[in-house]
């Protein structure tokens, strides 16, 4: 019971404003703000701790699927059904640049640590790296070794990790120029890296989360109980790496113990599919977004 006490299971705020499904909710670097995006083609900036909508960003032509903020909170990038990656200025709300090149919907975007590049993962089976420093709109690099849609991308200081429907989690290490492909045998929905950087959590479409050791590619643990079969749902780890969090298609949110894979807690967060789960970088606070058009803030 003590374990559940430190989990953010109490609803602090409900953020309403999106018309239609919310597809992603992300904290900013320090966790004070949150960006959400959804089917209504908007990106919204919130103060989740006070439950206030700060700004709405409109420019996307189709649904917005992912958004990520730079560490200095000055810029953010977004992507979605219009096959472009947008590079925004947070304060003015203007689009600085649009990166075109993906041949299909773009599923995920991430900045690197220095916010100098954006990496986007697309339906066209590629990861594309876009340069934010220069004015070039051509991709710096196209990684197209994936065999199917790339659903999710994670960056470390030296690596690009992508999870794809072809069942692989591919790590591209820039230091040694190697690609490590870990085939999980099941379509990978979402990947998330542990805070110690040693493990990668891969949400697969067989309703399973898999924890992999990054150095060896070994399967460390398997987490089951939730439903993840047809929608993009997120998974993540708590700050202490003690628990694994996963959203379920029936509106529940699950907490597993990292080590023994027991469901520590589960509760109904939304009525419909939980599309995104985002954990506060420092505190025990969590954002969940859902198809029902709401974002909920969970605290201890």
């Amino acid at each position: 019971m003590s374990a559940t006490a430190e989990l953010p299971t109490k609803e602090a705020h409900v953020l309403k404003g999106h018309e239609g499904a919310v597809l992603a909710a992300r904290f900013n670097g320090d966790g004070n703000y949150a960006l959400t995006c959804g089917k209504d083609r908007t990106i919204r900036l919130w103060n989740p701790h006070r439950g206030i909508l700060i700004k709405t960003y409109k420019s996307h032509g189709r649904e917005v699927r992912d958004v990520h903020v730079t560490s200095d909170n000055a810029k953010f990038c977004s992507c979605g059904g219009d096959r472009q990656v947008y590079y925004w200025d947070v304060s003015t709300g203007r689009v600085i640049r649009k990166f075109r090149g993906h041949d299909g919907e773009v599923n995920a975007v991430k900045f690197n640590d220095s916010s100098s590049v954006v990496v986007s993962a697309g339906f066209d089976r590629s990861l594309r790296v876009w340069d934010c420093r220069s004015h070039s709109v051509e991709p710096v690099q196209i990684i197209d070794t994936f065999l199917d849609t790339v659903m999710s991308v994670v960056l470390t200081k030296t690596e690009i990790i992508g999870g794809s429907v072809d069942g692989t989690v591919r790590t591209f290490d820039m230091r040694i120029g190697r690609e490590m492909s870990d085939n999980l045998g099941q379509p990978v929905n979402c990947i998330s890296i542990s805070n110690d950087g040693n493990c990668v959590l891969a949400g697969c479409l067989d309703s399973t989360l898999r924890l992999l050791d990054r150095t060896t590619g070994e399967l460390l643990q398997v987490y089951r109980g939730h439903i993840s079969k047809s929608f993009k749902t997120d998974c993540c780890l708590t700050n202490s790496d003690a628990h694994v969090i996963g959203g379920s298609e029936d509106g529940l949110v699950f907490f597993w113990d990292l080590v023994d894979a027991k469901v520590v807690s589960k509760f109904r967060a939304h009525d419909l599919v939980v599309t995104s789960v985002s954990y506060h970088p420092k505190e025990d606070c969590m954002l969940t977004s859902s198809v029902d058009g709401t974002i909920r803030v969970w605290k201890k």
Partner: protein, 949 residues
């Protein structure tokens, strides 16, 4: 003339004579220069250059409106004041006719339209009036209850009725509704009374006015009156529009989208007329026939196509509820029903009433009752089925009896019984009644175990019978097992190991997939063992060894190890050739094996059927493929693989990382190439497709023989240096970068094979290689085209035989050789090679025609010779400008200096040519030629390297 003119009537103004114009001109000049201005304003006549009176004043056509050349004022047209500041932008001004009119004209115009100005329209009367008229018009358009035109006398003009007057006095305003229902009915009654009174009084007037149109009525003294009459008429208009939707009262869904109102109305009327409801919805009409659930609330732009991705994958939440579009749908059917009903009622003949309770009623028949014992599936009574029935319920699993002999006996017996039928059991029971060993048949020791075994066997048998007797339908209720599916698809089972059988049997026929798969994997390994036993290369033990190694690798899966470097004694082309041999041999072995398997299977079907079953996706040829598949799936997940990946330098820079490939040559373009993409495939597939590639290239080679001229031209077109470098770097990697990654190497090796397979490529490759070398590294920059003239085709011939009978031709300048060696700072190896190439030219130059005519040469050689002889010809007669071929013209530019070198080297090695010719003529055009020539090339390259070192 004069008489003629009298007869004519003149229209228009006659064309003036030249003199008249001239005189007028004079006058105009005089006027302009003179003192017209001194005249009073009204006497001034404005003229143009031609002296004609100038037209001024646009509308009233005053020729002399305004002062001289001006209108209205001394200053002429006052331009509209135009100001535009940053804060106060000038908008686009809309011109109206009043801008151009004078005051009096404006007054005239305004007289036409008399209307209450808005400031006096206190109650919005005009607007109300207007809307009322609209409604009325609609009503007219609507088919009325009374057929034919409305009698005009009904709307005869009358002065304001007393009722209206009274109402007005009571405070009623026109255009306002009467709040009190009674009052309104009173008023109407009053109005009618008044109307009737007037109609009787002014009967004559009515008749005369019957033809008067409504417009006249309106423009008559009291236009409002007729309106009032119509108000009383038009009140039921609203009643005629019954409420048909589910909106709240007074709610207008189309308030902000009136264009949809029209749409809806037209649809309704169409429905009424057609008498049936079309399943037409707003969405469909808007977005076309494309179906699919659109994401709620967010339409797509007019220019966008509705796509798959616009469908709402999150079907759960229906945002439509909150939106307007479709909610009249549910009300519709009931409405239609009512319509139909009423129409039916009205169809009844006059004087007849519809029967309240009709005799006719739909007679309903209940579906036949299915007897409880009915089995939906028919079972053919056979000896096998007869006994499977009683054992349908599985007897409990019991441990086998301690006695091993008994256990064996029981198992064997059970198998036998299951195969031969229960009859056998009965028979043997009778036979062995006294036999202690067969106690288990009579319920004694081990009976339970026997029952269990028998049941298991029968289960298995049942599966088999399903297989062997295809007629028997598999029960749809049960979940399909792999066997059933396989049998349905006509798949053929693979042999299974015995161990496997046990596991599958114990699990009651259900399959444990991974173990099976791993088993097939080992099975394919056993195929390999069998292949080992076959030994196709018995005569050459080393080769056989290599073949075995090859097979091992092939079935090991994953990436090819790098031990291709190990056998360095062989040339690459020879290795490639050998590899092809191995591939074919392996395939042959496998085929043979598969064939054997199938034969065995057909001979003794029970044998392999007794075990668990596996299915390959079809015939025997596929076996290799399935091996691959199995290999893939047999590995337990997660499976880690590693590849080389090259981050772009800029990416590394952005991540603040040193480029791991810094300074290294750019890799061959990856993944776009067909062959390159094979790098990441499992070996067998790779090999197969490699074979395909080489085959296709053989084809290509045959066809490519016909296209030498094209090649020639291409070669001489100026190439971007990148291309040279790319090609060059390929080769250099081959040469120097032996320790490169295995995959890449393999890819390159394959590339080399491919390149070798066509003579053309060979030629071009070597040519380009040397060219690239010289360009990129050794050649001074002032002679960039030098190599373009070089005959590239001799390289491979000549280089292969460096020492040969020398037929020196010291005919031309020996001193030039020295010059060359001084000027070009070439390294020895390449210089050597180059000069060798050049040497060959000289004999050809001498005997250009002969070469062409020699019939023994292969077409490729002929081609090349043609080319070179052409060049030689050109070289011979310097002055002749061979403009017909463009490459020659290019040649000329740098040819002087080049020629020197060429000639200098010529005498050294001129002898090679002959030899090489020999060498080549031996070759046939078969694929072997390709490899041998390739080999030569490689060898020479190696030699070259050695020399350089």
């Amino acid at each position: 003339m004069a008489s003629d003119e009298e007869d004519f009537v003149f229209h228009g103004t006659p064309i003036e004579r030249e003199e008249e114009i001239a005189s007028r001109k004079k006058k105009a000049v005089a006027g302009a220069s003179g003192n017209l201005r001194t005249l009073p304003a009204w006497k001034q006549e404005v003229t143009d250059e031609e002296g004609r009176r100038r037209f001024h004043g646009a509308f009233t056509g005053g020729y002399s409106a305004g002062y001289y050349n001006t209108v209205g004022s001394k200053d002429g047209w006052a331009p509209q004041s135009f100001t535009s500041s940053r804060k106060n932008r000038a908008g686009a001004r809309k011109q109206s006719i009043s801008d151009f009119l004078d005051e009096d004209e404006k007054a005239d115009m305004e007289g036409q339209s008399l209307s209450a100005s808005s400031q006096f329209d206190t109650f919005g009367f005009t607007a109300a009036e207007y809307s009322r008229k609209q409604v009325e018009k609609e009503q007219h358009e609507r088919p009325s209850a009374i057929p034919g035109p409305v009698p005009d006398e009904l709307i005869a003009p009358v002065s304001e009725s007393i009722g209206v007057k009274l109402l007005l006095k009571m405070g009623w305003r026109r255009g306002h509704s009467i709040k009190d229902v009674r009052a309104s009915s009173d008023a109407r009654r009053e109005a009618r009374k008044a109307f009737l009174a007037f109609s009787t009084d002014e009967n004559t007037k009515e008749t005369s006015d019957s033809m008067v149109s409504e417009t006249e009525v309106e423009t008559s003294l009291d236009p409002q009156f007729s309106e009032d009459i119509k108000i009383s008429e038009s009140t039921p208009v609203y009643v005629l529009n019954p409420k048909q939707d589910l909106h709240g009262l007074g709610y207008d869904p189309f308030k902000h989208a009136p264009e949809f109102r029209e749409k809806k109305r037209s649809r309704l009327s169409a429905n009424k007329e057609a008498g049936f409801r079309k399943p037409l919805s707003m969405k469909e009409s808007l977005f076309g026939p494309k179906s699919g659930k659109i994401a709620p609330g967010f339409g797509i732009g007019a220019l966008e196509e509705l796509d798959v991705e616009d469908e709402d994958v999150y079907g759960g939440y229906d945002f439509d509820q909150t939106y307007v579009i479709e909610d009249e749908q549910p009300a519709k059917p009931s409405n239609d029903n009512r319509l139909r009903l009423t129409s039916k009622e009205h169809d009844v003949l006059p004087g007849f009433g519809a029967a309240k309770n009709s005799d006719y009623s739909m007679e309903r028949f209940n579906p036949p009752k299915i007897p409880k014992d009915f089995v939906t599936r028919h079972k053919f009574s056979g000896p096998l089925e007869a006994e499977t029935k009683p054992t349908l319920s599985a007897p409990p699993d019991v441990p086998p009896p301690a006695d091993n002999n008994l256990k064996l006996l029981i198992e064997g017996f059970a198998t036998f019984v299951s195969r031969c039928g229960k009859l056998y059991e009965d028979l043997s029971r009778e036979k062995n009644q006294s036999n202690q060993l067969f106690d288990f048949l009579r319920g004694g020791n081990g009976h339970e175990y026997y029952a269990r075994r028998l049941w298991e066997e029968q289960q298995k048998r049942g599966d088999q019978s399903k297989l062997t007797i295809d007629v028997k339908p598999s029960s749809s209720v049960q979940k399909m097992t792999a066997e059933e599916r396989g049998s349905l698809l006509g798949e053929k089972p693979l042999q299974r190991s015995l161990k496997e059988t046990d596991t599958s049997a114990s699990s009651g026929g259900s399959f444990q997939f991974p173990t099976n798969l791993s088993d097939t994997f080992t099975k394919s390994a056993s195929t390999q063992e069998a292949a080992d036993a076959v030994k196709p290369f018995k005569d050459d033990t080393a080769k056989q060894e290599r073949f075995e190694q090859f097979l091992k690798e092939k079935y090991k899966g994953g990436l090819r190890s790098t031990d291709f470097n190990r056998v360095n004694s062989m040339s690459e082309s020879a290795r490639a050739q050998e590899r092809l041999d191995f591939e074919s041999a392996a395939e042959a072995i496998e085929k043979g094996k598969a064939y054997k398997e199938v034969r065995r299977a057909t001979e003794r079907p029970l044998d392999f059927l007794a075990g668990g079953l596996q299915f390959t996706s079809g015939g025997t040829e596929q076996i290799k493929d399935t091996g691959v598949v199995d290999m893939k799936s047999s590995t337990t997940y997660p499976k880690r693989e590693e590849f080389q990946w090259r981050p772009s330098p800029l990416l590394c820079k952005r991540f603040d990382l040193p480029d791991p490939f810094m300074g290294k040559l750019p890799p061959a373009p990856r993944a776009r190439n067909k062959m390159d993409s094979l790098i990441f495939m499992p070996d067998t597939v790779k090999a197969a497709s490699a074979r395909q590639v080489s085959e296709s290239q053989e084809h290509k080679k045959e066809t490519s023989i016909e296209e030498p001229e094209v090649e020639v031209e291409v070669e001489n077109v100026e190439r971007p240096v990148d291309l040279y470098k790319a090609i060059f770097s390929d080769d250099s990697e081959d040469d120097e970068d032996q320790v490169m990654n295995g995959k890449i190497q393999e890819g390159q090796e394959k590339k080399n094979e491919a390149a070798a397979s066509t003579l053309n490529r060979l030629i071009a490759g070597d040519f380009l290689e040397s060219l690239g070398k010289e360009l990129g590294f050794e050649v001074p920059s002032d002679v960039p085209y030098q190599e373009g003239t070089k005959p590239m085709e001799e390289e491979n011939k000549s280089r292969s035989k460096p020492e040969s009978s020398s037929e020196k031709r010291p005919d031309r300048s020996g001193f030039k050789e020295k010059v060359e060696e001084k000027t070009s700072s070439l390294t020895l190896g390449s210089e050597d090679e180059k000069s060798r190439k050049k040497r060959e030219k000289s004999p050809r130059k001498r005997s250009g025609g002969n070469d062409l005519s020699s019939p023994s040469e292969s077409s490729g050689d002929e081609r090349s010779k043609k080319r070179s002889s052409k060049k030689d010809r050109y070289r011979n007669n310097d002055s002749e400008s061979d403009s017909s071929s463009d490459y020659h013209s290019r040649d000329k530019q740098g040819s002087r200096s080049r020629r020197k070198r060429r000639e200098s080297s010529r005498e050294k090695r001129s002898s090679h040519k002959k030899h090489s010719k020999h060498h080549r003529s031996k070759k046939s055009s078969s694929s072997k030629l390709v490899y041998s020539s390739d080999e030569d090339r490689k060898e020479s390259k190696r030699e070259k390297r050695r020399r350089r070192d």
